[in-house]
């Protein structure tokens, strides 16, 4: 699968990749974007299977990105990896079409559980 990791923190993008490996989710083609705008540009020009996005980012937030993705009819499984862990935010994400929601700080177990429906296993 092709995965797009979207986070304005380079360290967090690296940690997400490391945690994917620790969760046994390996062998995938991973690409990074540093904010929602960059991610949207990539999604318009390239096909991805999964987007793992932060919520609070400069230029375009994660929820704005998800809305734009849906408006553009981009077929991709979208989920959040974010410090916004409140029930209200989870509801907003789900209503916008997010398929998974992982709160920072996360563990490999949290990744495995949340992403099992997406990657199988």
């Amino acid at each position: 699968m092709k995965i797009l990791i979207v986070d304005d923190s380079k360290a967090m993008r690296m940690i997400v990749q490391r945690t994917l490996r620790q969760a046994g989710i390996t062998g995938h083609d991973v690409t990074e974007a540093s904010d929602g705008r960059e991610a949207l540009d990539r999604l318009r020009s390239e096909s991805f299977d999964v987007v793992m996005s932060d919520w609070n980012m400069p230029t375009m937030s994660g929820i704005e990105l998800l809305t734009a993705v849906r408006e553009a009819n981009v077929d991709v499984t979208f989920g959040f990896v974010t410090s916004e862990g409140s029930p209200a935010m989870r509801l907003i994400a789900a209503e916008a079409g997010a398929k998974f929601f992982i709160a920072k700080p996360f563990t490999a177990d949290a990744f495995a559980t949340a992403l099992r429906p997406v990657f199988g296993g």
Partner: protein
């Protein structure tokens, strides 16, 4: 919003995020903010300043290095004032995630997010926005594997 997160909750969050043992103790004396201090401001969705976390250069260097396993020697240089962009951006991400604790205190009634992290020397006016606060907690932090340490002061502003 005068309530502050407890020390154990902060320690647990840092441990999970940094994947290293973290020791947090009450600082022996309140932190004095100066030009080399850094201030993270947290605002409600209304734009009102709700919380602030002031940290010293040692805190930026230590947690900034620990987040992405930057070598301890880089953290040591950072703690002496030679902070790299990576250390600052990493520390900003740590402070961003710490905002989660403020939201847990609000029980969903108010949503708070990190507004920015700024060095006082670059924007002295940030101190005017951060009065002594309704309540505060001063903590000294060390992270396993790093010889540096730092202090942080959490302020409930609103």
């Amino acid at each position: 919003m005068s309530e502050l997160p407890n020390v154990d909750a902060i320690r647990r969050l840092l441990l999970q995020l940094l994947d290293r043992a973290v020791v947090l103790n009450r600082a022996p004396a309140p932190m004095k903010l100066g030009p080399k201090s850094w201030v993270a401001t947290y605002v409600a969705d209304s734009g009102t300043l709700a919380y602030a976390i002031a940290v010293d250069v040692g805190f930026i260097a230590t947690v900034g290095a620990a987040l992405s396993m930057v070598p301890p020697a880089v953290a040591q240089e950072g703690a002496k004032g030679k902070l790299t962009e990576t250390l600052v951006l990493n520390a900003q991400e740590v402070l961003n995630v710490l905002g989660l604790l403020f939201n847990e205190l609000q029980d969903g009634t108010v949503h708070v997010r990190l507004e920015r992290l700024v060095e006082v020397e670059k924007d002295p006016k940030v101190l005017e926005r951060v009065p002594p606060g309704k309540s505060r907690i001063d903590l000294a932090a060390t992270v396993a594997g790093y010889p540096t340490s730092g202090v942080m002061t959490i302020l409930a502003v609103a």
